[in-house]
Amino acid sequence: MDVLLQLIVNGVIAGGNYALAAIGYTMVYGILKFINFAHGSVAMVGAYAAFVLATSALHVPMVPAFFLAVLFTAVLGVLIEKAAYKPLRYAPKLAPLTTAVAVSFVLDAAVMILVGTEIKTYAVPFEVYSIGPVFITSIQVIVIVASLVLMVGLHLLLSRTRLGKAIRAVADDLDLSEVAGINTNFTISAVFAIGSALAAASGILIGLDSNLQPTMGFLITVKAFAAVVLGGLGNVYGAIVGGFIIGLVENLGVWYIPPVWKNSIAFGILILGLLIRPTGLFGSKDNTGGVLQ
């Protein structure tokens, strides 16, 4: 029983991170109807940006390093969109997918050269608290609080602001929004900025919770996508729920199967989800965004 509680806590923490990564993924899909394969690598770059700030000669404390890295990654996300996706907005669907994969390889390799391929940690000192039988580190508390704050912030942005309204309109119909006078290019840039910022946050929080590797982006991509599919492509709130489900199942699964297969669990959920309910848990025929034939 104690082990079960501990696994649930670990699952919620991992789930919060996956949910953050999944939000950016699903928002880009909602707007441009294409899967941004580079999303995980963008998250990885964010994590490394914070690492470089915090550990190099600069020695920026972790909290400002977090925000600077998030800002840097948001700008990077906007630039990537302008360089690699925007010229292909009306090209066959295969084209932006291809450049996204290429971007992810370029980002991974750039980090390998600049920082190295070894596993890194932020080496942030932490305390361990025990709540009854469950152990939780101060870092994990920060991780879960930060991910919840960011999700609530995103909800407020989407539901209460003018920009949020524009994003929802563009996601609904890009051409119609343009006709209605919405600056669609700006809105798309904003989505990439927000999505990349959240990806960076998730990358840093995952790094705080475990460690950093240049190849971590790939796993983030697959897990975030599994979360997105569970929640229904293009559905932000579905992606959050999907992220928590993936985190929980993955950590509870360790009870039954050897940990080396842990990363395969998200993939198994993805396949099962596609077989049983391809529109996702909350997907209806209306908001599949042209996903189904």
């Binding site: 669907k93 450049t99 994969v101 290429a102 991509t221 996508f225 993939f267 993805l270 996903v291 034939q293």
Partner: protein, 295 residues
Amino acid sequence: MTEIVLHLLIIVAIYAILSISLNLMTGTTGLFNLGLASFYGLGAYSSALLAKAGAPFLAALLGGIIISMLMALLISLPTLQLVGDYLAVVTMGLGEITRSVFKNWVDLTGGFMGLRNIPKASLFGYQLQSRMEYLIFAVVVLILTYFFMERLLGSPFGRVLRAVREDEMAAQAIGKNTFKFKLWSMLIGSGIAGLAGALFAHYIGVISPADFVMWLTFFIFLIIMFGGLGNNLGAIVATILFVLGREGLRFVGLPASISAPLQQILFGLLLIFATIYLPKGLIPERTQRVKPVGD
């Protein structure tokens, strides 16, 4: 020196077969298969294991093809009824899973150390000893694959595949069961990828999970994008250019820890450039001219 040249030519032949395989799935049918390396790896491991268990060479090769096709069937059934995006991520995940199986099912696959002493190829009792003999064999397989594919793509079947790529709904509207066509494209393509993997395993003699990383899939993608999507002759020319080009980069003299990622950046930027500015590739797919009626 000649041994190096022969080695590179064998790799060119194997990668050309792999390019033809991806060109069928992605170039002709428009299915974004990011798991090419795992079908290639499944063919390699299955064929190697069968041969080690005592199966004759050609039977082992066939076994590798069949296992790859079975995996393609498993992956295709849930994903092909949805739009292409799902297939892309599922095959990308598959790549990681198969590598994880190769790495962790130590009793069968030898773990990260891989499989050793894979039996050499032998045809009807004659063992292919030298590199030259294997090169001839690999080129013959390449030529057979090429002509098989040209026949296939020139047939009504091939026309439906291109129709699916251009506009799936239109193909459905004229009564084609597009799911069935996409499924066959995946099965044949993956089978050929498995064949390429088996050829690689019996040539190289030692295989490990590191031989089947996603980078390989990406490399073949670059090749077919440059060669011209849907054009197999272009794919073969591009394979020669890129395999030799990659080898040339190796002699620049940088340490491996820098040169490998540098190559990745260079090829990545090249792919972005090609996708935006060279969408039809070096040699565009031949299109059949249709005379306007009544002209």
